[in-house]
């Protein structure tokens, strides 16, 4: 039961660990891609949670199989919450609606005049340029002879997977771009 409670509160611990890492380590060593780094960070943190669960919360008389089960349970459960945390961070970084909401907030409530200028200048070409640069930083795209090509990896695989699986939910009807919710 202690394991379950530990897992339930793990997102809070992950957030605190993320704040610590961002404010200390990444202040001096800026990562190439924050998203890629966060994925690795969450994998490591979930592994540490699993080890902590075995070390602190598993009775000494447990068999190796039970110890392995406790590790796996903690690792998988905290990784699931970590995945949700990754999307939350990703929304704060990439979501267009969140970006617009925060700009309106800064302009209206914090009287930040540059926020209004940025909001007006936020057009399609700027959005695409930001995304191209981000995809290059993440290693999903590569610039060769002034042309962008895809690189094999997680994001290219995800793009194909989502395109293939979408018809299972919606048939051949393609979603409109304005159906994008907070995901992008």
């Amino acid at each position: 039961m202690a394991l379950a409670l530990f897992c339930l509160f793990s997102p809070g611990l992950t957030f605190l660990a993320h704040v610590f890492v961002e404010r200390s380590l990444f202040r001096w060593m800026r990562p190439r891609s924050r998203q890629n780094t966060l994925v690795k960070f969450l994998l490591i943190v979930s592994g540490i949670y699993g080890l902590l669960a075995v070390w602190l919360l598993t009775p000494k008389y447990f068999s190796p199989l039970e110890i392995f089960f406790n590790f796996s349970y903690t690792f998988i459960t905290t990784l699931g919450f970590g995945y949700a945390y990754f999307h939350f961070f990703n929304m704060s970084e990439t979501a267009r609606r969140i970006h617009i909401l925060v700009l309106i907030y800064e302009h209206t409530y914090l009287k930040n005049e540059t926020a209004k200028k940025e909001l007006v200048a936020y057009d399609a070409s700027k959005m695409v340029s930001i995304r191209i640069d981000r995809l290059v930083q993440m290693g999903a795209l590569e610039l060769k002879n002034d042309k962008y090509i895809t690189r094999a990896g997680g994001l290219a695989l995800m793009a194909t997977l989502f395109r293939l699986v979408r018809p299972l939910f919606y048939g051949n009807e393609q979603p409109r771009n304005d159906q994008v919710r907070y995901f992008s």
Partner: protein
């Protein structure tokens, strides 16, 4: 989307409620937490199937230009017809997050203000500037 949230958050919460009522903490709590973890994974993944993610669409767009590859301008042109800002502002208004005033100014509704504050302070806590969108 609201139904999805209701379904996948309500189910683990019902489990947690049963845990409290039945006092079967030992068995029900670990399974409830595990179920909750799987549910949040599904909830976070589902919008990817439901809606267009511009980044993933851009990767697909580049793939369609292979093996030569796509120039920056070709990629920008591929989404130029999308009137980004006004379309997103209309979406925000339709979802009840913002409200257009009589003088044309856009005001945040309570839910919009809540979301904006959460993300603003989250970035502040991390010591990061505002996301690029």
């Amino acid at each position: 989307m609201k139904l999805l949230f209701l379904m996948f958050f309500a189910l683990p919460l019902v489990f947690l409620g049963m845990t409290i009522v039945s006092f079967e903490w030992r068995w029900l709590l670990p399974s409830s937490v595990f179920l909750l973890s799987l549910c949040v994974v599904y909830i976070q993944s589902f919008p990817g199937f439901q809606a267009v993610s511009p980044s993933l669409e851009m990767v697909n767009a580049v793939k369609s230009y292979l093996p030569e590859g796509a120039s920056r301008q070709q990629l920008i042109d591929s989404v130029q017809n999308d009137n980004l800002l006004s379309a997103r502002l209309e979406d925000l208004e339709r979802d009840g997050l913002t409200q257009r005033q009589a003088n044309g100014e856009i005001k945040l509704n309570s839910s919009g203000l809540f979301l904006a504050r959460v993300f603003f302070w989250y970035r502040r806590a991390l010591g990061l500037p505002r996301g690029d969108g």
